[in-house]
């Protein structure tokens, strides 16, 4: 966008008044947290100078980028700046429910920008975003810019463009107020450290505190709850986030030691024209390199064989003479054939840690893709069993075969033979269920991480979709054909 000197001044003025307002609100809270050994960056974070700096750096980035001027023209024509932001980021963009306005570092920034382009700091529309939708709202042109403590990373740069950086942060360690064991990143060894899944936290921790026992939670809130309950010793995340926690809960937490880790620059996300050729090559290379398909098959194989075994056990329970076992098996089948894969996976990944049962993401996916098919497997086997001629069992009994012999030699082999088709269908659907995980190769991300992963790595293109879909359906068709051949060979024709 073309900036005249005059406009810049108005913007800067706006910044100072904005910043002054911020200062008063934060100072009161900052005063309360005397016990905390933070180097009062709270006040610093939203002061006049920072805002002035911000404005100038924003201008520079825009001048350098020619495409940005087209962008600004568009905003100007629309008469409103469409912003992707959040309402729950203390210090950065927090909705004040008493007067309905958004305050904070990011909020101030976009209000400045709205003023800068349109001459009215309230000429903006906010679309709520979270860490997994920031790229997509830009790509699908739902917003003009994203202001949401948005770290500039190379992978994101492939999808969108950044202006800035306008702020930098590092990782901080949050501990309970009385904790004197942890004094910095070096003292984390052997401690239970929690961090946010899907953020840069896990990687940074693995590098700087390899001996710490790392747990991952989905949201900031969950991690803080775990810390307050004493379930974990420390919480490592963005230093700025830690500060806001400190400010909100005076005297409850401390920040241990200095900020560490790589410098994390925040930028303003802007749309970018995606380049088709580049990304398809990128995507194909990716499939080969990180062995996504191999992983898919590993997952399917493990899950299907486990499901098969469990399915047989459950089926035996369902026909057993012992009533409690029958009831249990029936309930088991009804639960897992009626719950959706996504819901079960979410339960396993996010709810079980509350019961102190923490499994890796991979384990959770295997469990989910095992339990559900096992129920269906049992259903198919049951209908297979029902096709067996009663006379055969009577004959076997008359010959003096024991119960287990009847089951092993008469019932199960025939039930299996007549369930080839449904069972191969089940194999296909197991493969499809693993799609929940295959796109997020073994990174303990949340389910929505799927979206962000595809977003950041595969630039949501038509080709990416079709290539992936093609592989899936071809495998399904091949399995289907093979199953028909097997079925013809083994089926007992009555």
């Amino acid at each position: 966008m073309a900036a005249t000197a005059e406009q810049t001044t108005t913007a800067a003025d706006e910044a100072s008044s904005e910043a002054a307002a911020e200062e008063t609100t934060t100072e009161e809270t900052a005063a309360e947290e005397e016990s905390a050994e933070a180097e009062e960056p709270v006040a610093k974070a939203i002061d006049k100078n920072a805002f002035d700096q911000l404005v100038s750096s924003g201008v520079k980035a825009d001048d350098a980028d020619i495409a940005a001027s087209e962008w600004a023209t568009k905003v100007k024509e629309a008469g409103v700046l469409r912003v992707g932001g959040v309402r729950t980021s203390f210090l950065f963009s927090q909705l004040d429910e008493t007067d309905g306005s958004l305050r904070g570092f990011d909020a101030g920034l976009w209000q400045l920008l709205a003023n800068y382009i349109l001459g009215d700091s309230s000429a903006f529309e906010i679309t709520q975003v979270d860490s997994s939708t920031r790229e997509s709202v830009l790509q699908s042109d739902q917003v003009d810019a994203v202001f949401a403590t948005y770290s500039i990373t190379d992978s994101r740069k492939e999808v969108i463009s950044f202006a800035g950086p306008y702020y930098t942060s590092q990782q901080g360690i949050l501990v309970a107020a009385g904790n004197s064991d942890i004094t910095g990143v070096d003292t984390l060894a052997g401690k239970v450290v929690v961090t946010q899944a899907g953020s840069t936290g896990p990687d940074i921790l693995a590098e700087f505190a390899p001996e710490a026992e790392i747990q991952e939670f989905e949201t900031d809130q969950e991690a803080i709850t775990a810390l307050s309950q004493g379930r974990v010793d420390a919480y490592v995340t963005d230093y700025t986030l830690q500060l806001s926690t400190l400010v909100k809960n005076p005297g409850v937490y401390n920040i241990a030691g200095d900020a560490f880790g790589p410098v994390d620059p925040y930028g303003i996300g802007l749309p970018k024209d995606s380049d088709g050729v580049e990304f398809v090559n990128e995507f194909l290379k990716k499939i080969e390199e990180d062995g996504t398909w191999e992983q898919l098959w590993k997952l399917t194989a493990i899950a299907f064989s486990a499901a098969f075994v469990i399915g047989i056990i459950v089926t035996v329970m369902r026909i057993s003479p012992v009533k409690p076992l029958r009831v249990f098996a029936e309930i088991y089948v009804q639960i897992f054939r009626n719950i959706s894969g996504a819901a079960l996976l979410i339960l396993l990944v996010y709810a079980l840690p509350y019961l102190n049962m923490l499994f890796s993401y991979f384990t959770c996916v295997v469990i989910a893709t095992t339990l559900i098919p096992s129920a269906f497997c049992s259903e198919y086997l049951m209908s297979g069993i029902n096709t067996i001629d009663v006379g055969q069992i009577e004959a076997a009994r008359a010959l003096g075969l024991t119960f287990s012999q009847v089951i092993r030699k008469i019932v199960i082999p025939q039930a299996l033979r007549s369930s080839v088709l449904p069972l191969t269908n089940l194999l296909v659907s197991t493969m499809l269920t693993t799609a929940l995980a295959s796109q997020v190769p073994m990174n303990p991300r949340d389910l929505t991480g799927l979206v962000s992963h595809i977003n950041t790595h595969a630039v949501g293109g038509v080709m990416a979709f079709f290539i992936s879909a093609f592989f899936y359906s071809v495998t399904a068709v091949i399995i289907g054909r093979i199953s028909i051949i097997i079925d013809r060979k083994v089926r007992i024709i009555r």
Binding site: P321, Q334, N356, T387, I393, I407, N425, L436, L447, V477
Partner: protein, 280 residues
């Protein structure tokens, strides 16, 4: 229903009236298994207790009317998406089925390709397609349609196959008889074959609806306010993840269980064999 009677007979054959010895053994096994299941249940509740998940604050809000109203709104969203998706899948599936049984090779081929494609591709992939790819062409869809279309697409292939199996189940002689009575191809299909075919497959179609309901859980991706999405709001409001997800999971299970029961009931009423379909 034929299956239930035959199941009983297989069971009866397996366990003809147990003698006194066997009866004793079964009793012992019953006691042991009840004890084992009870221990399992106690262990589960204990784990809940130890981790503080039984605290009143995690469950008390379920006593509030507003909680259920909110979950109810979400449930309506789920039902809305599933119903529209189901209807669309039925229409598309019907058209695909017509193509599949058509005498013209071209229609045949096109239908086969589409059916195999939609059956073989996981629903999330379709959702991402509508969430990420479609907007790139400047097409803006409401969140509802971003759920409904993918769900309908991934179901239509199976619906087509189910319908086709129904059509095939109608004895050939009926068509021949209708033709020889001077009815046209078209009216034979509409008046003779289709009514019977639909009757055969209604139970299977209802089971397919279960899959549609399950697939709508992916609505969280496109932030459509379904049951799952509303659950998330409750979770952040009351800071009670486990209890909310558990309750929501139970709601899903009940809905789908009832649908399955309905399909069995109708199958019993119509006295037809259910058609097995691949399910996810």
């Amino acid at each position: 229903m034929s299956t239930s009677t035959s199941r009983l007979s297989v069971r009866d054959a397996l366990f003809e009236k147990p003698g006194p010895k066997a009866e004793k053994r079964i009793k012992i096994a019953t006691v042991i298994s009840v004890a084992a299941l009870a221990v399992l249940l106690i262990l589960m509740v204990r784990q809940f207790y130890i981790t503080g998940q039984l605290q009143a604050k995690y469950w008390s809000f379920f006593l509030k009317y507003t909680t259920w109203r909110f979950l109810g709104t979400g449930l309506l969203g789920t039902i809305e998406a599933a119903a529209i998706g189901g209807v669309l899948a039925l229409i598309a599936g019907f058209v695909l089925m017509l193509g599949r049984i058509s005498r013209y090779k071209v229609f045949n081929l096109i239908s086969v390709v589409i059916i195999e494609f939609t059956r073989g591709v996981p629903t999330p992939l379709f959702i991402y397609f509508f969430f990420l790819v479609v907007p790139q062409f400047g097409i803006k869809l409401a969140a509802l349609w971003k759920v409904v279309f993918p769900v309908a697409i991934s179901a239509c292939g199976i619906v087509a196959e189910v319908l086709r199996s129904g059509v095939n189940a109608v004895p050939k002689g009926q068509r021949e008889a209708a033709i020889s009575l001077g009815m046209s191809e078209g009216s034979t299909f509409i008046k003779v074959i289709l009514p019977q075919a639909v009757r055969y497959v209604i139970p299977a179609l209802i089971s397919e609806l279960v899959i549609v309901v399950k697939d709508t859980t992916f609505a969280y991706v496109v932030s459509f306010p379904d049951l799952m999405q509303n659950a998330k709001v409750l979770i952040s409001n009351y800071d009670a993840l486990l209890s909310v997800y558990l309750v929501v999971a139970v709601i899903y299970i009940i809905i789908n269980y009832l649908l399955n029961k309905l399909s069995l009931y109708i199958a019993g009423k119509l006295d037809v064999k259910t058609v097995n379909v691949a399910e996810v």
